[in-house]
Protein backbone atom coordinates (compact mmCIF):
# COMPACT_ATOMS: atom_id res chain seq x y z
CA UNK A 1 0.00 0.00 0.00
CA UNK A 2 2.73 2.42 0.99
CA UNK A 3 4.43 1.59 -2.26
CA UNK A 4 1.46 2.92 -4.22
CA UNK A 5 0.75 6.07 -2.21
CA UNK A 6 4.34 7.23 -1.74
CA UNK A 7 6.41 6.41 -4.80
CA UNK A 8 10.15 6.47 -4.08
CA UNK A 9 11.89 9.77 -4.85
CA UNK A 10 13.18 10.01 -8.40
CA UNK A 11 16.85 9.05 -8.46
CA UNK A 12 19.28 11.59 -9.91
CA UNK A 13 20.54 10.94 -13.44
CA UNK A 14 24.13 9.67 -13.51
CA UNK A 15 26.09 11.26 -16.35
CA UNK A 16 29.71 10.14 -16.69
CA UNK A 17 32.10 11.41 -19.38
CA UNK A 18 35.70 10.26 -19.64
CA UNK A 19 38.41 11.00 -22.20
CA UNK A 20 41.21 8.51 -21.67
CA UNK A 21 44.01 6.63 -23.41
CA UNK A 22 43.34 3.43 -21.44
CA UNK A 23 40.82 0.78 -22.41
CA UNK A 24 37.38 0.29 -20.79
CA UNK A 25 35.23 -2.67 -19.77
CA UNK A 26 31.58 -2.52 -20.75
CA UNK A 27 30.40 -4.81 -17.92
CA UNK A 28 31.99 -2.49 -15.36
CA UNK A 29 30.45 0.59 -16.98
CA UNK A 30 26.96 -0.93 -17.15
CA UNK A 31 27.33 -2.16 -13.57
CA UNK A 32 28.13 1.37 -12.39
CA UNK A 33 24.85 2.63 -13.89
CA UNK A 34 22.59 -0.21 -12.71
CA UNK A 35 24.01 -1.44 -9.37
CA UNK A 36 21.62 -0.98 -6.47
CA UNK A 37 18.83 0.39 -8.67
CA UNK A 38 15.55 -1.28 -9.56
CA UNK A 39 14.21 1.41 -11.89
CA UNK A 40 16.46 0.64 -14.86
CA UNK A 41 14.69 -1.67 -17.30
CA UNK A 42 16.70 -1.00 -20.43
CA UNK A 43 20.40 -0.58 -21.18
CA UNK A 44 21.52 0.24 -24.72
CA UNK A 45 25.20 0.41 -25.53
CA UNK A 46 27.37 1.18 -28.49
CA UNK A 47 31.05 0.31 -28.81
CA UNK A 48 33.11 1.62 -31.71
CA UNK A 49 36.19 -0.42 -32.62
CA UNK A 50 39.18 0.13 -34.87
CA UNK A 51 38.85 -1.77 -38.19
CA UNK A 52 41.84 -2.72 -40.33
CA UNK A 53 39.96 -1.79 -43.55
CA UNK A 54 40.57 -5.07 -45.29
CA UNK A 55 44.08 -5.47 -43.89
CA UNK A 56 45.25 -2.00 -44.94
CA UNK A 57 45.68 -0.41 -41.49
CA UNK A 58 48.06 -1.12 -38.64
CA UNK A 59 46.40 1.41 -36.33
CA UNK A 60 44.28 4.52 -36.00
CA UNK A 61 45.73 7.44 -34.10
CA UNK A 62 43.22 9.65 -32.33
CA UNK A 63 44.03 13.29 -31.72
CA UNK A 64 41.73 15.43 -29.58
CA UNK A 65 41.28 18.91 -28.18
CA UNK A 66 41.62 18.12 -24.48
CA UNK A 67 39.94 21.13 -22.93
CA UNK A 68 37.01 21.15 -25.30
CA UNK A 69 36.43 17.41 -25.72
CA UNK A 70 35.16 16.65 -22.25
CA UNK A 71 33.14 19.85 -22.01
CA UNK A 72 31.46 19.35 -25.42
CA UNK A 73 30.66 15.69 -24.78
CA UNK A 74 29.33 16.41 -21.31
CA UNK A 75 27.01 19.11 -22.70
CA UNK A 76 25.64 16.70 -25.31
CA UNK A 77 25.34 13.87 -22.78
CA UNK A 78 23.36 16.04 -20.39
CA UNK A 79 21.08 17.15 -23.23
CA UNK A 80 20.51 13.49 -24.18
CA UNK A 81 19.84 12.46 -20.58
CA UNK A 82 17.15 15.08 -20.23
CA UNK A 83 15.64 14.72 -23.70
CA UNK A 84 15.21 10.93 -23.50
CA UNK A 85 14.50 10.79 -19.73
CA UNK A 86 17.47 8.53 -19.13
CA UNK A 87 18.32 7.16 -15.68
CA UNK A 88 22.03 7.18 -16.54
CA UNK A 89 24.44 7.80 -19.38
CA UNK A 90 28.15 7.03 -19.72
CA UNK A 91 30.34 8.18 -22.60
CA UNK A 92 34.00 7.22 -22.90
CA UNK A 93 36.23 8.25 -25.81
CA UNK A 94 39.80 7.05 -26.09
CA UNK A 95 42.73 8.91 -27.64
CA UNK A 96 46.17 7.84 -28.84
CA UNK A 97 47.14 4.92 -31.08
CA UNK A 98 44.62 2.09 -31.26
CA UNK A 99 45.25 -1.19 -33.10
CA UNK A 100 42.60 -2.98 -35.21
CA UNK A 101 40.13 -4.76 -32.93
CA UNK A 102 40.72 -2.22 -30.14
CA UNK A 103 38.01 -0.12 -28.53
CA UNK A 104 37.66 3.55 -29.53
CA UNK A 105 34.41 4.75 -28.01
CA UNK A 106 31.69 3.54 -25.64
CA UNK A 107 28.24 4.91 -24.98
CA UNK A 108 25.88 3.32 -22.43
CA UNK A 109 22.36 4.71 -22.04
CA UNK A 110 20.01 3.47 -19.28
CA UNK A 111 16.29 4.12 -19.07
CA UNK A 112 13.08 2.58 -17.82
CA UNK A 113 12.02 1.59 -21.34
CA UNK A 114 13.89 0.39 -24.39
CA UNK A 115 13.13 3.07 -26.99
CA UNK A 116 14.55 5.81 -24.75
CA UNK A 117 17.72 3.79 -24.14
CA UNK A 118 18.26 3.08 -27.85
CA UNK A 119 17.53 6.71 -28.79
CA UNK A 120 19.85 8.09 -26.12
CA UNK A 121 22.76 5.93 -27.27
CA UNK A 122 22.18 6.62 -31.00
CA UNK A 123 21.77 10.36 -30.41
CA UNK A 124 25.04 10.60 -28.52
CA UNK A 125 26.92 8.58 -31.15
CA UNK A 126 25.59 10.81 -33.95
CA UNK A 127 26.86 13.91 -32.13
CA UNK A 128 30.17 12.19 -31.36
CA UNK A 129 30.73 11.72 -35.07
CA UNK A 130 30.09 15.35 -36.02
CA UNK A 131 30.71 17.58 -33.00
CA UNK A 132 33.23 15.97 -30.67
CA UNK A 133 36.73 17.44 -31.24
CA UNK A 134 38.50 14.21 -32.22
CA UNK A 135 40.38 13.43 -35.43
CA UNK A 136 41.51 10.03 -36.71
CA UNK A 137 44.70 9.42 -38.66
CA UNK A 138 45.39 6.14 -40.41
CA UNK A 139 48.64 4.23 -39.91
CA UNK A 140 49.27 1.85 -42.79
CA UNK A 141 50.38 -1.76 -42.46
CA UNK A 142 52.89 -1.35 -45.30
CA UNK A 143 54.56 1.44 -43.31
CA UNK A 144 53.47 4.19 -45.70
CA UNK A 145 52.21 7.52 -44.43
CA UNK A 146 48.51 7.37 -43.66
CA UNK A 147 45.78 9.90 -44.38
CA UNK A 148 43.55 11.75 -41.98
CA UNK A 149 40.10 10.15 -42.06
CA UNK A 150 37.58 12.34 -43.89
CA UNK A 151 34.31 13.39 -42.29
CA UNK A 152 31.33 11.63 -43.83
CA UNK A 153 28.24 13.28 -45.24
CA UNK A 154 26.25 10.36 -43.82
CA UNK A 155 27.24 11.44 -40.31
CA UNK A 156 25.91 14.94 -40.83
CA UNK A 157 22.64 13.48 -42.11
CA UNK A 158 22.43 11.11 -39.16
CA UNK A 159 22.80 14.04 -36.80
CA UNK A 160 20.29 16.19 -38.70
CA UNK A 161 17.47 13.68 -38.15
CA UNK A 162 17.44 14.50 -34.43
CA UNK A 163 16.96 18.16 -35.20
CA UNK A 164 13.97 17.61 -37.50
CA UNK A 165 12.23 15.49 -34.87
CA UNK A 166 12.47 17.97 -32.02
Amino acid sequence: MTADSTPPAKRPVQVTVRIQSSDFDISDEIGALTAGRADVGAVASFTGLCRDEGGRLSALELEHYPGMAERAIRAIAEEAAERFELTGLTAIHRYGKIAPGGNIVLVVACASHRQAAFDGAAFLMDYFKTDAPFWKKEHLKDGGAGEWVSAKDADDKAKARWRSRS
Partner: protein, 85 residues
Protein backbone atom coordinates in the same frame (compact mmCIF):
# COMPACT_ATOMS: atom_id res chain seq x y z
CA UNK B 1 44.97 42.32 -29.90
CA UNK B 2 46.86 39.18 -28.77
CA UNK B 3 45.30 35.75 -29.03
CA UNK B 4 46.19 32.11 -28.54
CA UNK B 5 45.41 30.10 -31.69
CA UNK B 6 45.48 26.29 -31.56
CA UNK B 7 45.52 23.87 -34.50
CA UNK B 8 44.56 20.21 -34.82
CA UNK B 9 44.97 17.30 -37.24
CA UNK B 10 46.12 18.25 -40.76
CA UNK B 11 45.79 21.96 -40.03
CA UNK B 12 48.37 21.46 -37.26
CA UNK B 13 50.56 19.28 -39.49
CA UNK B 14 50.56 21.74 -42.42
CA UNK B 15 51.34 24.75 -40.22
CA UNK B 16 53.95 22.72 -38.33
CA UNK B 17 52.90 23.71 -34.81
CA UNK B 18 50.09 23.01 -32.38
CA UNK B 19 49.55 26.52 -31.05
CA UNK B 20 50.91 30.04 -31.08
CA UNK B 21 50.31 33.50 -29.64
CA UNK B 22 49.45 35.99 -32.38
CA UNK B 23 49.15 39.76 -32.60
CA UNK B 24 46.19 40.48 -34.84
CA UNK B 25 45.55 43.58 -36.95
CA UNK B 26 42.44 45.66 -36.14
CA UNK B 27 40.85 44.48 -39.38
CA UNK B 28 40.43 40.94 -37.99
CA UNK B 29 36.94 40.88 -36.46
CA UNK B 30 35.42 37.46 -37.20
CA UNK B 31 36.68 33.88 -37.34
CA UNK B 32 36.56 34.15 -41.14
CA UNK B 33 38.75 37.26 -41.01
CA UNK B 34 41.23 35.36 -38.83
CA UNK B 35 41.44 32.46 -41.29
CA UNK B 36 41.95 34.86 -44.23
CA UNK B 37 44.65 36.69 -42.27
CA UNK B 38 46.47 33.48 -41.30
CA UNK B 39 46.48 32.32 -44.95
CA UNK B 40 48.74 35.30 -45.76
CA UNK B 41 51.41 34.41 -43.16
CA UNK B 42 53.41 32.03 -45.34
CA UNK B 43 53.36 28.94 -47.52
CA UNK B 44 52.55 26.54 -44.70
CA UNK B 45 49.58 28.69 -43.61
CA UNK B 46 48.41 29.06 -47.20
CA UNK B 47 48.45 25.24 -47.49
CA UNK B 48 46.51 24.80 -44.25
CA UNK B 49 43.82 27.28 -45.22
CA UNK B 50 43.67 26.83 -49.00
CA UNK B 51 39.99 25.75 -48.76
CA UNK B 52 38.75 28.04 -45.97
CA UNK B 53 35.18 26.75 -46.03
CA UNK B 54 36.17 23.29 -44.75
CA UNK B 55 37.86 24.75 -41.67
CA UNK B 56 35.91 24.43 -38.41
CA UNK B 57 36.50 26.70 -35.45
CA UNK B 58 35.95 26.96 -31.72
CA UNK B 59 36.05 30.14 -29.65
CA UNK B 60 37.09 29.43 -26.06
CA UNK B 61 36.23 25.74 -26.56
CA UNK B 62 32.76 26.31 -28.04
CA UNK B 63 31.95 25.60 -31.69
CA UNK B 64 31.77 28.84 -33.70
CA UNK B 65 30.83 29.76 -37.28
CA UNK B 66 33.07 31.79 -39.59
CA UNK B 67 30.86 34.87 -39.15
CA UNK B 68 31.21 34.93 -35.36
CA UNK B 69 33.11 37.81 -33.81
CA UNK B 70 36.31 36.92 -31.96
CA UNK B 71 35.64 39.64 -29.37
CA UNK B 72 37.64 39.11 -26.19
CA UNK B 73 38.28 35.43 -26.80
CA UNK B 74 41.29 33.90 -25.04
CA UNK B 75 41.69 30.95 -27.40
CA UNK B 76 40.61 30.19 -30.96
CA UNK B 77 40.92 26.64 -32.31
CA UNK B 78 41.02 25.86 -36.05
CA UNK B 79 40.68 22.31 -37.33
CA UNK B 80 39.25 20.04 -40.04
CA UNK B 81 35.77 18.50 -39.74
CA UNK B 82 35.78 16.18 -36.75
CA UNK B 83 35.95 12.40 -37.14
CA UNK B 84 35.41 11.12 -33.61
CA UNK B 85 33.18 8.28 -32.51
Amino acid sequence: MSLKVVYFAWVRERIGKGSEELELPESVVTVGDLIAHLATLGEEYAAAFEVPQVIRAAIDEEHAGHDEAIGNAREIALFPPMTGG
